[in-house]
Symmetry: C2
Subunit: 473 residues, 2 copies
């Protein structure tokens, strides 16, 4: 492990033991030597979050389902506001928080931050070789406070909302910054690296970004989650260093396809915020925001919360500064989280019939066609389509369904106001079927011992879900 | 004009004079001869609807804005039910109705119709050379009833929901049928030809469809509106015989692009129905249905209504049979229609900034970039995208805005719950600005003499619109 200078003549070296019982020896240029043994983790400490297929798991094997929020400039606020934010977070279900290391310059964000990460050169440029220790000390204190609430810090390392010059440093300067960051923060179990926020709005070339991604992967000894979040063009999430798919998009009909394409966990880290801003991305009703969470989660992905209410007076907005929450989505997100955590495994999205049919390879279609029954008409119309035509049709006809093997089936009805639906359950198993009102947060048993094709009565209003759980026999 | 046999020894010849004052002579094989002069039309008779650019106009030059509904099997119901449907229609804003000439076989539609259009051969196949006159007489009577209410019949000539064999006749049989149809019905000013409903679900080849389209165009002396409605793949609406774009799609973010692409009027003739069916297409809330109308109309296109409520008892469903309406969308569609009809001209959708920027030709981008100001960041991220990436981004970031030159600007906010918006009006003109609550059907003046960039307060809830009309000076 490489150490770092933390000011006042003090050099530090941090490490994160991932096994109990191992003995470590410390020695080196700073004239310190010693040894100690590693005890088992406290029950509440689960270690670093890593990925397993399209799921997240803690180092100790426990499932981790990210339900994040967004406070971009959290680490650049007054102590009092940070404390108020913590008081708010305690009452939320959030277990991940996206925040920038560098200060943010944008609407409602025009002030200089209390502290900068580096000292300045005589010409006003940043001297990345001279970290400003008070900044880093405070960042760590803040991150540990989040961690004590069970919140992973999804730390945004670069972004474009900048007037101080942090977004336009050279690749060499960027790497000096990352070197210090990784030496200081890698031993924190609860940190994630979000390489860029809206990376494609920055004035960096793709090769510059790739160099930074490589640098982090090479210098983080613990392989913390590493992702890169887009504005317009998705990052290439298939790159081996990338642990999971972090996306900004409102096109939630694509979520299941992304999960299948990348075979990594998918988080839609930005699909719009609950609020009243004039911007299309910042004026969603709580109902719409909660629905976006359900659309993602039903198909085995995750979402991130954000809130943008302006009351005409206070310019403290949750999405950047923290403080208090004013919306109505948070209890509903908690309700969803509880359901997702209670499932007997990880949900995988179920393809709609058009998705399923279009995936049949050309040379098998004639054979498959004979077996399709009612679906023959759809296949006949679908198969001649070009990929572009097919995806246009498929995307606009999406419904939201997921399953945990044969153990659980979840249908989310979104804006559909149906009076009934027919579930198609395995006929050799029995299910307990619940009607879930995702907005009013009620769960009601509607069928016991359901099997095969069964009709479920629905209440003709939006935002309903049906969960079928295999009954224990 | 070609005549037709209408039974009981009677041959008829119909024509539709489109100018007053002209003298016509009638003579021919049926031993009839005579002449008469053509008087000017009654004030309520406006003639055939035709197109002018992306607008519809009656033959007398009056604007026609289609606000249609859908009663697929209207012409195959009992007299009593037809009368009940007429009683309902009188109270609606609808001025177009989609209905099939052939009977329909589908969920809730399993009965044989009272009458068939042709006599049967000994083997049970249809003898298209022997029209069943009672069917055609009744069809005409029904269409004239609709016409008397100012309703255009958008007559669907072929569809796939069939168990009687009408969808699988030979091209020759189809043309014999069309020949009789065109001789009988072309002189009705209020008929439109919808070549196929979900044409691509039928077992007809594209060349078969094209042959039918040509046949109609060649044999309809009056050029009634002619379109073809899809299930999955859009018909090629750029074909010269096609008068307007008739589309089934939920992808309403594409509407403005279609209007621009085809330079013809666009009607989204199927974007889902208000109702409580389990099918995703038949369970929209009234709010969602009304919103789909606004999304289409704001960008200069039109929508079509349909209703699918099943109460668990009566299998009379508006979308197929007619009868009574049970939903809440109709008064709101009437409210929208009144606004659209009151505008000083035809709306044209306004491109969003990403749409606008992406259209800048490659070789002009360097020059344009310098002039972009705040939009430079977006251009930098957008311009490197492939067409597929760009349209993915653009489609999912759509907002709904239209204008009538500089005379009127309409913003529809859909699900946006903003507290305010900034209108960017021409600074050399003055506008009267109204806030429209599209659901509660209220209009409220919020600014007078507005000019240039002005903020408008919005009430933080969905389904609002703002209309700026140039003030008279």
């Amino acid at each position: 492990m490489d150490g770092f200078y933390s000011g006042k003549g003090c050099y530090r070296l941090r490490f994160l033991p991932e096994q109990a019982g191992v003995r470590y020896h410390v020695y080196g240029c700073v004239e310190a030597e010693g040894s100690f043994s590693v005890e088992p983790a406290e029950p509440d400490s689960h270690g670093i979050v890593r990925t397993a297929g399209t799921r997240f798991v803690f180092a100790d094997g426990r499932d981790y389902h990210p339900f994040g929020t967004t406070v971009y400039a959290l680490f650049h606020q007054s102590e009092a506001l940070f404390e108020e934010t913590i008081d708010t977070l305690v009452q939320t279900p959030f277990n991940k928080l996206r925040a920038c290391l560098f200060p943010k310059y944008y609407d409602f964000n025009h002030d200089d931050p209390p502290l900068y990460p580096f000292a300045q050169n005589a010409d006003g440029s940043w001297n990345v070789h001279r970290p400003y220790f008070a900044f880093w000390d405070r960042l760590e204190t803040n991150m540990l406070r989040l961690s004590s609430l069970g919140i992973q810090t999804d730390l945004i390392l670069f972004h474009s909302y900048d007037r101080w010059g942090f977004s336009t440093m050279s690749p060499e300067e960027d790497c000096v910054y990352l070197d210090y960051l990784l030496r200081r923060l890698s031993a924190f179990p609860s940190v994630w690296w979000s390489l860029g926020n809206e990376y494609d709005l920055c004035k960096k070339s793709i090769s510059h970004w790739e160099q930074l991604e490589e640098y982090i992967a090479d210098h983080d000894p613990y392989r913390h989650p590493l992702s890169c979040h887009n504005a317009l063009r998705l990052w290439d999430h298939s790159r081996p260093n990338i642990s999971h798919v972090s996306i900004q998009s409102k096109a939630l009909w694509r979520v299941n396809a992304w999960r299948q394409q990348y075979r990594k966990p998918v988080i839609i880290d930005e699909f719009g915020y609950e609020g009243n801003f004039p911007h299309a991305w910042g004026c969603l009703s709580a109902k719409e925001l909660v629905s976006r969470f359900w659309r993602c989660c039903t198909t085995g992905a995750y979402g991130s919360h954000g809130e943008t209410f302006y009351d005409g007076k206070s310019e403290i907005i949750w999405w950047s500064h923290g403080g208090k929450l004013h919306g109505e989505s948070v209890p509903r997100i908690a309700f969803l989280k509880e359901i997702i955590e209670s499932l007997p495994g990880h949900l995988e999205g179920i393809d709609t019939p058009p998705e399923m049919l279009y995936k049949v390879p050309q040379n098998q279609r004639a054979e498959v066609y004979k077996t399709l029954g009612e679906l023959q008409t759809l296949a006949r119309a679908l198969w001649p389509l070009s990929d572009e035509e097919a995806s246009f049709y498929i995307d606009s006809e999406i419904t939201y369904q997921g399953r945990v093997g044969d153990k659980a089936f979840l249908n989310y009805y979104d804006i559909r106001c149906s009076a009934w639906d027919t579930l198609r359950l395995p006929s050799d198993k029995h299910y307990h079927v619940e009607l879930i009102d995702t907005w009013n947060m009620t769960r009601q048993t509607v069928l016991e011992n359901a099997s095969g094709n069964v009709d479920v009565a629905l209440p003709c209003r939006e935002y309903m879900a049906v969960l079928a759980l295999e009954s224990e026999k």
